[in-house]
């Protein structure tokens, strides 16, 4: 069974798909405040939504528990909201739509926008955070004032653990994700993102 599911996801990843991911806060029919991730699939990509929630057109996913996210002590969220560019960088590694959907369907994560309810670290909806978040998407999205969404993976304790990717939108308002890396991880060739000027050899 697991094999079939993996095979299905594998097949999905090799199809060029277009989906739209959005995120909002609502008061549900049960009268409960909650964050919701909405994934809309066009007719051609209905299999993605069907995989995610069983519906061909649209999926709704209420936000999972996020331990201590509504507070100011979580230093990881603080790093995201206050020093995003300082701590993280976007790569050009684009996620396949199928992979994005399978991630959104199966993994433990939260989505963060500059208007997130978990922003306890800067003024809600501040332009500074908006610009900082937008800088992770290509120029087009920045010009269109699109609202990028960060995918933050949760750990076993449901605490923010890793900034996995940013969801940007293209000209057709279709969503895609780009991998994000941390700049703070230990020294390694691929991590050398900083500009280093070698002063060891008298400036040579």
């Amino acid at each position: 069974m697991k094999f079939l599911a993996l095979l299905y996801i594998f097949l999905l990843t090799f199809q060029t798909k277009a989906i739209e991911v959005s995120f909002y806060t609502e008061k549900s029919k049960d009268n409960i405040y909650q964050d919701v991730t909405k994934v809309t699939c066009s007719i051609n990509e209905s299999n993605l939504c069907q995989y995610m929630c069983g519906d061909k057109k649209v999926c709704y996913r209420p936000e999972l528990k996020c331990t201590n996210c509504a507070g100011s002590t979580d230093q990881f969220l603080r790093a995201i909201f206050t020093k995003t560019e300082f701590n993280f960088s976007v790569t050009q590694q684009k996620w396949q739509s199928g992979y994005l959907i399978s991630y959104l369907a199966d993994k433990y994560y939260i989505l963060l926008s500059y208007r997130s309810i978990y922003n306890f670290h800067k003024i809600w909806g501040s332009e500074e955070v908006a610009k900082s978040f937008q800088s992770f998407c290509p120029q087009y999205a920045q010009e269109q004032n699109e609202e990028p969404l960060f995918i933050v993976q949760l750990d076993d304790s449901d605490r923010p653990h890793q900034l996995k990717a940013v969801i940007c939108k293209d000209e057709n308002h279709q969503s895609y994700a780009l991998t994000i890396e941390s700049k703070l991880d230990p020294k390694g060739e691929s991590q050398k993102l900083s500009t280093i000027i070698n002063q060891n050899q008298n400036g040579e």
Partner: protein, 888 residues
């Protein structure tokens, strides 16, 4: 004009239908408070700050385009109510023996699985293992066959449940009132009792049921009072486990228990994400404790937040670059006054205002701690992501060869090496071992972020860098690289922490010196916009050291400010919690000292009192004096072992010249300068003089550990006094010719008893306690309309007052309607045809010599009365002063 005062009281004025469930007020002096600190409390305040739910709702409203202020108010109210409901639910479950107790001591014999998991998880309830364990326990406890279900989880038995009958009360405080009188003084007078009686008659002015949805009470800051009612002796078995359980179950249930949805209602989905522990704090209500007092960094730092509960923070400890640490603060402040409202509760009109001041002071400092951890982590991780420690120092080494080209570099390298000497030189070890210790501290390791270096790795990087840096600095020193004293080098460019360590002999206010920019540009930048991290390699190395210092700063009080995992508690009202557990104060010392001195005085009387030997050996006892603490990391917590100058007997040899020379004089020679000259024990006309020869040594174990050795002092005193002891002693010369001297013996025995009773009357250091039964005070107050003077003693003993009703009523009436204080009162029947029940009360005021009279009717059986005096009549009565006989 006749004032008609008809009264019919027995049970009146008490508006609440539910009886008030509060514990007796346990008034204690310093010594008793210190003793109490070792026992579990039956009363606690739960301090709540609604900022997080308020801010969360504000963000939600903004996201949805709603009225953010309105929703924030709603959320804060719902939060206050939900927390109260959850508290009540958990307490009920524990007291009704449904939920088992979670032991505070992780002893493998008791619940081995729990102990192991809690230890692995460092008591963090959101740790998956512990969370899963608590989930199983929670659901098993709701089953009919709960013990059987619980046994399948761990080694649960009947002894893991509270036994005995306990009830509880939970209240939301509107203001601190006489119902917390035990926090305001070690004893209480009639006015104090009367204030308690009044507060009990108008409870709605002071408190409401804790889950009240009263919107007129501040929704952001709140203080709940939780009282557990029941037998104190039984409670002592369970108390510490109970509060430990409350803290852990509260943290877990808030996020996981299905019942919480009924409390949090429309906020149920988002409230479970709240950082609950940031906004709740348990505080013991009185001298007893919520967690077992121990002399370790956890306990000391948690209790040090007491400073923030004061109106004005009275310490600069938290402003220092390298704090002394709570153990040094403990020694510095030492024994101090307690139960005197030192946290100024009564200065605030509302309990919420006191909580607000406390939380603001606390949060401001908490932010400084968080910022330092954050900045250290960012700097060290960024630097370490690009350089190995060896590469970094190799880069510094090349810069040492470029000082001709950049003269300012020489200064910077000098600063770097000075900072290395202070922070990382293991030979002198000013603070190096303290920095090393950070790696072993759980509370610090919990501060690691998911990205970048862990705290342990950060310290490791610092240590690895310090080795080659030390070699470089030594080499530079041997090459005479550093400026000599003759060069008059200015050290103003040192970092603030280094200046502080060098005892602030430098100008700390000097503007920071900018690092030298090399022609090649910045040494390390980050991001597309090239945000500079370090200007040059020396700058980078100094940042590494500064980051380690920041971590050291944070580690001193981390348990108090950054602790995670479950709701914390602090014994803010009782500094003796740590003073006793760290052996700085011994509550039994004064009692035992007085007894020992009494025995010594009697022995003196037996040996020298009856004969003509002019000797007297005066003994006294000095308590242990803690001079410093040894630090040892045990189970990831720093344990402090006190190093003390042992308590000892001090003695002096006295020559009582009275019986020899006939003069009321004595001379004393003592090997201890702190031995007071008090031979005659009483005051009187006296001439005393002493000379002291003192010698104090200071030795060093390490650079940071000066040890003051026992002083070697001598004193020689002489004095004459005319008083009850000196004169008879001198007069006993008459019997000097004979062998037996009864007058001298009498003086010696009398003095022994006098000193004993005087010592035992010490109201501060001999344990004293009063248990005030609130029901009795309420009944007395309701019965008489006030607290009669005759009722003070029985009420202080916790006994029922059975004062004469008519006498008491007359005294209270007189005091209420005049400025006088009734000292004595007597009531007699007056013969009157018109009024056969007429009574006359004659009372004496404390200040007046003359008596005053009031006429009234009173029925002792039916408790009715009627006064015939006007208020003016009593007030205008003349008072003849007792001192000079003048009428006023």
């Amino acid at each position: 004009m006749v004032l008609l005062f008809l009264f019919n009281i027995l049970i009146s004025g008490f508006v609440q239908a539910e009886p008030l469930k509060l514990n007796d007020l346990h008034l204690t002096n310093r010594a008793q408070c210190a003793i109490d600190s070792q026992s579990p409390s039956q009363s606690a305040f739960l301090i709540l700050d609604g900022y997080n739910p308020g801010r969360l709702a504000y963000n939600v409203a903004k996201s949805m385009g709603q009225d953010s202020d309105l929703l924030a108010q709603e959320a804060m109210l719902r939060y206050r109510v939900s927390v109260a409901q959850l508290q009540k639910y958990i307490i009920q479950q524990l007291l009704q023996k449904k939920l088992p107790l979670l032991p505070y001591s992780l002893d493998k014999k008791n619940l081995p699985k729990y102990s192991q998991i809690a230890e692995n998880c460092k008591n963090e309830v959101y740790c998956p293992e512990l969370s899963s364990y608590l989930t199983k326990v929670w659901f098993a406890s709701q089953k009919e066959d709960r013990l059987l279900s619980l046994k399948a989880i761990d080694d649960f038995s009947e002894k893991n449940f509270i036994s005995g009958r306990f009830d509880y009360g939970c209240y939301l405080l509107k203001k601190f009132s006489p119902l917390q009188s035990h926090l305001y003084g070690p004893t209480i007078d009639r006015k104090g009792l009367s204030a308690i009686g009044k507060a009990l008659s108008n409870t709605e002015e002071n408190l409401v049921e804790c889950s009240s949805e009263d919107r007129s009470i501040d929704t952001r800051y709140a203080s709940f009072q939780i009282d557990i009612l029941g037998d104190t002796k039984s409670w002592n078995q369970y108390g510490f486990d109970f509060w430990n359980s409350i803290k852990i179950y509260t943290s877990w249930a808030w996020r996981n228990a299905p019942e919480i949805k009924n409390f949090t209602q429309e906020f149920q989905s988002i409230f479970k994400n709240l950082d609950l522990e940031e906004s709740l704090l348990y505080v013991s209500n009185g001298c007893k404790s919520l967690s077992k007092p121990e002399c370790n960094s956890d306990n000391l730092t948690k209790n040090s937040i007491r400073e923030f509960a004061k109106t004005q923070v009275q310490t600069d400890e938290f402003d220092q670059e390298i704090p002394d640490g709570p153990q040094k603060q403990l020694l510095e402040k030492g024994a101090r006054a307690v139960n005197n409202d030192f946290l100024s509760l009564m200065d605030y009109d509302k309990a919420s205002n006191w909580v607000e001041n406390f939380k603001k002071n606390f949060t401001n400092t908490q932010w400084i701690y968080r910022n330092r951890v954050f900045n250290a982590q960012q700097n060290l991780s960024l630097i370490a992501s690009q350089f190995t420690p060896e590469e970094m120092i190799a880069a510094v080494a090349t810069l040492t060869q470029r000082v001709q080209e950049y003269p300012s570099l020489k200064k910077e390298i000098t600063y770097l090496c000075t900072e290395w000497q202070l922070s990382a030189n293991q030979e002198f070890d000013f603070i190096y071992s303290d920095i090393e210790q950070i790696q072993k501290m759980d509370v610090m390791n919990q501060q690691s972020m998911p990205t970048g270096l862990s705290v342990q790795e950060q310290i490791e990087f610092f240590k690895k860098m310090s080795r080659p840096l030390g070699e470089l600095c030594r080499e530079l020193d041997s090459n005479k690289f550093f400026p000599t004293q003759d060069e008059n080098f200015n050290y103003n460019g040192l970092q603030d922490w280094a200046k502080e360590m060098l005892k602030k002999t430098l100008a700390t206010e000097a503007a920071p010196e900018a690092p030298t920019v090399m022609s090649e540009g910045q040494f390390l930048t980050v991001g597309e916009h090239e945000i500079p991290i370090c200007v040059n390699a020396v700058d980078c190395s100094r940042r590494v050291i500064k980051s380690a210092i920041d971590l050291l700063y944070v580690s001193s009080y981390a348990s108090g400010f950054l602790s995670k995992g479950h709701v914390q508690s602090s014994e803010v009202f009782n500094p003796y919690n740590e003073l006793v557990s760290c052996h700085v104060y011994d509550p039994w010392f004064q009692k035992s000292r007085t007894r020992k001195r009494f025995v010594a005085d009697l022995m003196n009387a037996a040996l020298f009192g009856w004969n003509n030997i002019p000797a007297y050996v005066d003994v006294d006892f000095v308590p242990d004096r803690v001079t410093s603490f040894q630090q040892l990391v045990d189970q990831s917590v720093i344990k402090f072992t006190p190093e003390a100058q042992k308590g000892h007997m001090v003695y002096s040899l006295l020559a009582d010249l009275g019986p020899l020379a006939g003069a009321p004089c004595a001379v004393q020679i003592s090997p201890n300068a702190d031995k007071a000259f008090n031979f005659y024990a009483f005051g009187g006309i006296a001439i005393n003089a002493c000379t002291i020869k003192a010698q104090h040594d200071v030795s060093f174990k390490r650079a940071k550990n000066p040890v003051v050795n026992d002083p070697k002092d001598r004193s020689f005193c002489g004095g004459c006094v005319i008083n009850f002891v000196g004169v008879p002693s001198a007069a006993s010369r008459v019997q000097a010719a004979e062998h037996f001297n009864p007058l001298k013996l009498g003086v010696y025995i009398f003095r022994a008893f006098y000193r004993f009773f005087k010592g035992m009357r010490d109201n501060v250091n001999i344990p004293r306690t009063y248990d005030l039964n609130l029901n009795q005070i309420k009944e007395t107050y309701s019965f008489y309309g006030d607290i009669p003077r005759q009722c003070v003693k029985p009420l202080l003993k916790g006994e029922t007052c059975k004062a004469n009703y008519c006498e008491s009523i007359a005294a209270i009436y007189a005091e209420k309607n005049s400025q006088w204080t009734v000292k004595r009162i007597s009531v007699k029947k007056v013969k009157s045809k018109e009024n056969p029940n007429l009574l006359k009360a004659t009372f004496t005021d404390e200040e007046c010599r003359n008596d005053h009279e009031i006429f009234f009717n009173c029925d002792e059986k039916n408790h009715t009365y009627e006064f015939f005096e006007t208020k003016d009549y009593i007030r205008n009565k003349k008072c003849v002063s007792q001192k000079n006989g003048e009428a006023t």
